[in-house]
């Protein structure tokens, strides 16, 4: 056990926990942030994806000790006030879900993708998202949602082009 300081969704936490514990377990069990999901426990499905310093990371295989002091964002941290993040809104607009258990992880991965590539091609979306599984098979909708969010987030020039 050790005291670990975490910054999650702009809030600071100080926890007594085993640094070897997975970040996912800490989020879900200790902090009651259950939006990040367990799907496989080996980084294969992406349901647990969170942002660590802006980069997508599988929280189920991330030791909590390794992210002390870093900026962690979970699905719960995307909403600003009452406003959905453009990626969240795009998932709603494209009905890009069925059981939606993968949705948190899909959205977090998509946010990470769009942070590093504002206008990804379909090929780039597929390559980046390939580690996220949707067993219900809503992949074509998720691709469309990411494209829609990209247009919504892009600067005015691209926005005009998208219409």
């Amino acid at each position: 056990m050790a005291t670990i300081r975490l910054t999650i969704n702009d809030k600071s936490y100080s926890l007594d926990t085993d640094p070897q514990s997975s970040l996912l377990t800490v989020l879900r069990e200790d902090l009651d942030l259950t939006g990040s999901k367990y799907g496989c426990g080996e980084g294969q499905c992406g349901a647990c994806t969170v942002l660590v310093d802006g980069k997508a990371q599988r929280s189920c295989i991330t030791r909590v000790g390794s992210v002390a002091g870093k900026q962690i964002t979970t699905i719960e941290g995307l909403v600003k006030g009452d406003r959905l993040h453009p990626v969240q809104q795009a998932f709603l607009d494209e009905a890009a879900m069925q059981c939606a258990y993968c949705t948190s992880g899909m959205i977090m991965s998509a946010v990470a993708l769009l942070q590093q590539n504002m206008m990804p091609s379909e090929r780039e979306i597929v390559d980046f998202m390939d580690g996220n599984v949707c067993r219900c098979g809503t992949y074509p909708r998720i691709i469309r949602a990411i494209q829609r969010a990209a247009k919504a987030q892009a600067p005015a020039v691209a926005k005009g082009a998208g219409r």
Binding site: G35, E42, C136
Partner: protein, 720 residues
């Protein structure tokens, strides 16, 4: 209690379609309704006993007294105008929370956001056999429309009285009733002030025709979508209670093993709850990590018999078929004309064998349950397609009456037929009983792979006869183990012998999306192409020549048109089709594949589906279901297979068992044939059955290699 009895009597590993009897029935007592719901109006839907028998697969137990009534849904409108509909159906991603709300909104003339749907709670909702078999739309959607329509009529009657108006003149819209003559308007809430009205719907309750629908028939957005994109929705595995412990259960090293010894001393010293009860060994601890550590400290010895592997599977299924068993169960045997005569006089006779391996559901949320005891009262939150079935399993396991148990089903992270049973509910309840605290059990992915159940494997033999002009004259079809759903051909064949042979499966097997229909369609639709080839006919022309059913012809023709059937191909490019009739829906699927002749890699490039399920309730959600069926169907067609040996699953992790991913996605095109003149039926299963044969036929089209085993190319196509 004796857990030994529980573990030795399997937890009803239901096979094929469920035939278990319903254990419970509600009595109607209007005072109870209002005590619980508050004043207003309650409309109750009561099924005729014949329908009950159909829906529950064998009728309900009756205690001889009380009302001979079988409630399957009810609806309440409160004095505040709030509408609550109650159904035992559950949400696992089909989005029926939305489509059922649409049904109520349509008939009741209330905005959809004023409707709350209470689902799958054994205390609050009427009994329901379970959410499977694509029954929600043809039955529950219809029942809720009827209760909503009856409520609307009752409100109109109230308004006629209160406004002293001519009933024929009154109009209901937006939770209000208006009299255009006098311009007086009264809303539902005002009408219901102080009222306690109960109504039972008439079987012939008139409904709004699909052609007049305004809310139903539209692509209404998901009613609770925001909760899912924000992570706020609490799935079963997210449930939490104060003082809750985390449970873990010790698994044997092989199936059907018995516990020889277990030493829980080390675990006991860790300050956790340890339970040893027959074959059941489990722990409950304040954190999942502590539970894992304690479980690992238990030294146990198990005894298991040698068991078969994939290698012997198909031989085993043939040899252990229950040939002598009475095959009179639904669809187990069907015979017409004289197959033997027709075969001997056919111009071409074909014999082929098709096989299907076990596959896993892989619901992204593994099984999970949270259980708590209050004295002798047990409450369990769990992800199951059969909350009432799980309640019965709990009653059996703990030897308590069902009315001491409440099972609630929070909207769950998918099922695909894989969550009919209550393993985690029983495990959590057993640990909670010992710990005297609430306990949550969430299976790991590895547990889900090994200790749930699989889609049945199967062997299918087809013998057929065809005339030179392309008329099929004989059709003999034997299915060993995979099941009888979709076993009968929809082609017009005068001489048929169709037999389903039940087998005591070497692996635990059960329901799966479209279940055996996938295997039966794969064999039948592959064989159709083989026959077409034998008589040198185009596969589409050959099908249509032998098919009278107009609805099925229509989907084949629509898909062919959209696909561009008959256009020219380049090297490596193959086209194929498959389709059929299942769960009252009609599907035709056309696939384009590309086979790399050097690497043997098979890529499904494009899939076109035409689907017809009567009047469409929600077009966009229907497309979503069809696209999803195609993606899941593609996995089972190309590469999904459970590898097993001697009672162990060899590829029971997501890094070893391949599921379809973004990179597997073909271009998916969907054609909906909206038949407003035909009652709506379900769509979660049928669209899947065309995928595997369409892909297999397309592979044959470009390579000349006929693949008769699912999965078709788990390691690519052998190009030697």
């Amino acid at each position: 209690m004796n857990m030994k009895a529980m573990s030795e009597t399997p937890l009803e590993p239901e096979r094929y379609e469920l035939r278990a009897q319903a254990p419970y029935r509600f009595d109607l007592d209007r005072r109870d309704f209002f005590k619980f719901l508050g004043a207003g109006i309650v409309v109750v839907s009561v099924l005729k006993p014949t329908i009950v028998a159909q829906e529950s697969g064998g009728g309900r137990q009756r205690d001889g007294d009380g009302l001979p009534q079988e409630i399957d849904a009810w609806l309440h409108i409160g004095e505040n105008g709030k509408v609550t509909a109650y159904t035992g159906k559950v949400e696992v991603g089909q989005n029926i929370r939305t489509s059922l709300s649409q049904a109520v909104a349509e008939e009741l003339h209330v905005p959809i956001e004023r409707i709350e749907l209470v689902m799958g709670d054994t205390q609050l909702t009427p009994f329901d056999m379970g959410t499977f078999g694509s029954r929600t739309t043809p039955t529950m959607n219809l029942q809720l429309r009827k209760v909503a329509a009856a409520a609307r009529e009752a409100l109109l009657a109230l308004a006629t009285e209160q406004l002293q108006a001519d009933r024929q003149q009154l109009r209901a819209a937006e939770s209000r009733i208006s009299d255009p003559k006098t311009n007086r308007i009264i809303d539902y809430a005002a009408l219901l002030k102080g009222q306690q009205i109960t109504k039972t719907i008439a079987a012939d309750q008139p409904l709004i025709a699909a052609s007049q629908w305004k809310v139903a028939g539209q692509s209404v957005p998901r009613v609770d979508g925001r909760d899912f994109v924000t992570g706020r929705h609490r799935y079963p595995s997210d449930q939490k209670l104060p003082g809750m412990l985390y449970g873990k259960v010790l698994r044997p090293p092989a199936f059907n093993a018995t516990l020889v010894s277990a030493d829980p001393k080390n675990a006991g010293q860790m300050g956790v709850t340890v339970v040893r009860d027959g074959n059941f060994v489990g722990v409950a601890a304040p954190s999942s990590k502590a539970a894992e550590t304690a479980l690992a400290a238990i030294h146990a010895e198990w005894k298991a018999k040698p068991q078969i592997s994939n290698k012997e599977l198909f031989d085993y299924l043939r040899k252990n078929a229950a040939e002598g068993k009475d095959p009179t169960g639904d669809g187990d045997r069907f015979e017409t004309g004289s197959v033997d005569q027709a075969l001997s006089s056919a111009d071409h006779k074909l014999h082929a064998t098709y096989t299907v391996q076990y596959v896993a559901h892989v619901p992204l949320e593994p099984r999970a349950a949270l259980a708590k005891w209050d004295g002798d009262q047990l409450t369990v939150w769990t992800g199951t397609q059969r909350p009432f079935g799980v309640r019965r399993q709990l009653a059996e396991a703990f030897r308590i009456p069902e009315d001491k148990i409440r099972v609630l089903m929070p909207d769950t992270g998918s099922g695909y037929g894989g969550k009919h049973t209550g393993e985690t509910a029983i495990e959590a309840a057993r640990l909670a009983k010992a710990a005297k605290q609430p306990v949550k059990v969430v299976w790991t992915r590895e547990e889900e792979f090994s200790w749930a159940y699989f889609r049945p494997a199967g062997v299918i033999d087809v013998v057929s006869g065809v005339r030179n002009d392309g008329t099929i004259t004989a059709w003999e079809f034997h299915n060993y183990n995979s099941g009888s759903a979709g076993i009968r051909p929809y082609y017009d064949i005068p001489n048929q012998r169709i037999v389903f042979h039940e087998v005591d499966s070497p692996l635990r097997q059960g329901s799966y999306r479209a279940l055996a229909a996938t295997a039966n369609h794969f064999a039948r639709e592959s064989h159709m192409d083989e026959l077409a080839q034998a008589v040198k006919m185009d596969p589409l022309e050959f099908r249509l020549k032998n098919l009278k059913n107009e609805r099925l012809r229509a989907v084949f023709e629509a898909a062919a048109k959209q696909f561009g059937w008959g256009r020219s191909k380049s090297a490596g490019q193959g086209f194929g089709m498959g389709g059929g009739y299942e769960k009252l829906g009609n599907i035709a699927t056309f696939a384009e594949v590309y086979v790399d002749s050097k690497s043997g890699e098979v890529k499904v490039v494009r899939v076109v589906s035409a689907f017809e399920c009567g009047a469409v309730v929600n077009p966009d959600n229907l497309r979503n279901q069809i696209e999803g069926s195609n993606m899941q169907g593609l996995g089972g067609a190309l590469f999904e297979v459970i590898e097993f040996e001697n009672g162990k699953i060899l590829n029971g992790r997501l890094s070893q068992y391949r599921v379809p991913r973004f990179s597997d996605l073909p271009v998916l095109e969907t054609v909906l044939l909206d038949r407003k003149d035909i009652p709506s039926v379900g769509a979660g299963e049928c669209p899947m059955v065309g995928s595997a044969p369409a892909i297999a036929n397309a592979i044959f089209d470009t390579t000349g290699t006929r693949l008769r085993a699912l999965p078709l190319v788990p390691n690519g196509l052998k190009t030697s």
